[in-house]
Amino acid sequence: MSGLLQPPAEPDVPQPVERVEHLGMTTGYLGATASAAVAVASRATPAAWRLLLRGPAFWVGAAILLFWVVCAIFGHLFAPYSPLAQNLLLPSAAPSGAHWFGTDPLGRDVLSRVITGSRDILIITPLATILGTILGTILGLAMGYFGGTFDLIAGRIVEAFLALPIVIIAFLFIVALGPSTGTLITVIGLVFTPLIARTVRSAAQVERQQDYVAASRLFGESPVRVMFGEILPNVMPAILVEFTVRLGYAIFTIATLSFLGFGITPPTPDWGADIYANYINLLPGYWWQTLFPALAIASLVIAVILIADSIEQVLAS
């Protein structure tokens, strides 16, 4: 190689690493220079994550989630009774000093069942969502990157899939595979795949138009490398948001399937299954058997949504 000439020091060598910051503030106004608008495009800096930690919504969500995680792991240690211990002398007892949340028709302590019932849902939810996110990301990236006929065909299949009620699809899978924790994870993961694929696809389509994708083609990069090495890191924020949102839906779906009798099999304590087992007792007035598991589900969903919202806000800002 010809030795590179080292000309006399030219002006902008000791460039300040810090960006001109006040430019970002004027972008809301029409006349802001184009370069300023582009400068804001980078996201999720460490400062942004500090911003996340400052939001009260995030802390409330995190506290609730942490509470249920502790219950799932150590719940059997501090639950007042064994969740499986039946006390046939005390069926369907109303909340009292001995049984804060009352008992169910078999005399099992509702509080203990609520505390320990978080275990399966907290295992299945993240695993199922991760499975769906991985599959959806691969499918979405491929659709967004290749476009054309592949995108058209895969897109139609995804749309057809989305048109069916999730629960019905899940039924079909469970009937075919037999109910088990593994089946639930697979089913929910597969059901979420097209939903996540759709989000990733649109984000990838935007990135595909960027010049860096053209540049990597000029470097002879393979499609796999462009998709996963170039585009994927840039669509991660979108995937992260979608992932957290899906977590909330996963809790819901698991609870729904359990309620319909396709989820966790009794006598394992589970919120959805307990509601299913006891909701007929609402009419005679044994409300505590249904209300407390339902509140538990609601609190977990809310916790996840609070966290998801905070992350999304930070990524969008």
């Binding site: 190689m1 010809s2 030795g3 590179l4 000439l5 080292q6 000309p7 006399p8 020091a9 030219e10 002006p11 902008d12 060598v13 000791p14 460039q15 300040p16 690493v17 810090e18 960006r19 001109v20 910051e21 006040h22 430019l23 503030m25 004027t26 809301g28 106004y29 029409l30 006349g31 802001a32 220079t33 184009a34 370069s35 300023a36 582009v38 400068a39 495009a41 980078s42 800096t45 960027q210 010049d211 860096y212 053209a214 540049a215 990597s216 083609r217 000029l218 470097f219 002879g220 990069e221 170039e230 890191p233 840039n234 991660m236």
Partner: protein, 692 residues
Amino acid sequence: MTADAAPLVDSGAPAAPAPALSVTNLDVTYKVRGQDRLALRDVTFSIARGESFGLVGESGSGKSTVALALVRYLPSNGRVSGGQVSINGLDPLSMGRAALRDLRARTVSMVYQEPGRALNPSIRVGRQIAEVFSIAGQSHGEATASAEEMLRKVQISDPARVMGRYPHELSGGMAQRAIIAMALARSPSLLILDEPTTALDATVEAEVLDLVAALRQEFDTTVLFISHNLAVIAKMCDRVGVLYAGQLLEQGPARAVFENPRHPYTVGLLRCIPRRGQRKDSDRLDTIPGFLPTPGSSIAGCIFAPRCALVQDRCRTTDPPFFLVDATRTSRCFFHEQAPDLPRSTPATIPELAGHETDGADGPLVVMAGLSKTFGGSVRALAGVDLAIERGETLGLVGESGSGKTTLARVLLGLTKPDEGSAVTMNGKPLSPDARRRPREVLRTLQIVFQNPDSALNRRHSVRALISRPLARLAGLSGAALQARLEELIASVRLEDRHLALRPSQLSGGLKQRVAIARAFGPGPEVVVCDEPTSALDVSVQAAILNLLADLQQTERATYLFISHDLGLVRYLSDRIVVLYLGRVMEVGPAETVFAGPHHPYTEALFSAVPSLDGERPDRIRLTGEIPSAADPPSGCVFHTRCPRKLATGECESTEPPLHEDEPGHQIRCHIPLAELRELQRSQSVPSQGGS
């Protein structure tokens, strides 16, 4: 404009009886993450009634902040922290909400850079303009009539039809006219134009500027014209203020300031712009060392001192006051008398590297033959382009947007597949039309520097990863060899080791473009396409990048295809020039021949359209309208619909002229013989089409 414009010495007490606008010691502060940052400091100027004042500065200088502060449109984290503003004797800074609304509605109008974003996309243009008159109390019928009248004044030929359209149906130039019509509807006493033509093509820009100049006469409006483009300011303004890091450093009559600048910053800025006759090899651009200070940083002395070649101890400790240069001019510099003799920060000439003209091979390096590209079955972006790129030359490619410049580059690179029958050869060997099918050895030889580094550099990768990857992929380097080449590249684009670990978002625009250049040169390409590589950059950064490109061409023995809409840049850098129009080559020839003329009428129009700092150039011809759709190109010569020199014989409408060569190496696609063109262009007596 003489007595009224009397400069303000230090204190800044307005000297004129009642200026339309006076700004006194204005400070603006932005609160960023709990910290106050001074964005404007001690800005003082005034505009006399009917005068046009230009505010020029690079990005980050605070130009737009001035405009926003005047009408209290600052974002919520910004506030005026000192000073006074007076518009027509009114004080917008202290008035109540209702009065402020009234001021914005009646007294001040603003026109922004992007016409597309200033109009409501869901309301017809006519209604939006009429609304301005309705608010003034006119009935529906009157307002509509007034709107139509206003559109006619901004030279829209068929106002009734335009009024029925939605904003997206208007071209950029047309939309900007409509906005100017709205802005002038109330006969405002102050019109603020913030980069009004930056988003427009040169020919359209020329039309809009002509229009603004004509309307200013007619309405007797006071204008505050904000732009980064010194030539535009020079053309449009009586007086000019040079803004730097929130401070006005120099002000005075535009012509005087630009011809004989008296502040080191203005001097440096003007030296960054290629002037007539300057060439990359003989008379290089100068640059301004250092960087804009971080906003809000506290600077003891002169704000420009860290970058100034004339700096003395006094400058670092004492903030200089305004010095009177003469009766009409001020400069904020202790040494304003020495400013014109500012020492250069880069040498004017560089030593020629010997013996790299040819590598023994003969013939052009790249030959493109019958290059056509049709999008969507009907849009002919390129129509049979034949072009050769010689070894080691810089081929400049000019044309308006929509002329096919970028498509041509993408076809050459293999990013866009041309139509059947197109052929590209390099070193005599045919190139596959698809980059994915090209072997690495071929990919290595053809690289590109994109226009926008934000899009071209993956923001998730570090600078090291960005530059290393093509070295590994195409040059087959690894380990110590890769590291050595990486360091060599970094040094040659004048980056530092500490930059390697950073992400693009942590770099300024100029540094990002340096990374992109280092990446493109990494594998050792023979041809580098430069697609408007400096259009997203500031003037002072642009000069450094242009010099860098010129250096690299010598040391790396590269051939350039240089695409730009900026004729000054093309002239500075190019050996030969190609003029494209609607996907056809209109003219091709050695740079100096093309610039000296006689030129193709389209080339002539392009030259006429570009405002210049080199004295008043007669605006000989103007193009009306915008480039026709490539889906439905005009018959015969595609330029005949806009050609000011169209022949009366009808030949232009019926037959497409061939590209004929009257001078060696200089080809023109026109029915008018060269001699006749020379005669026509010398006489300069062309009836202006439309225009004013």
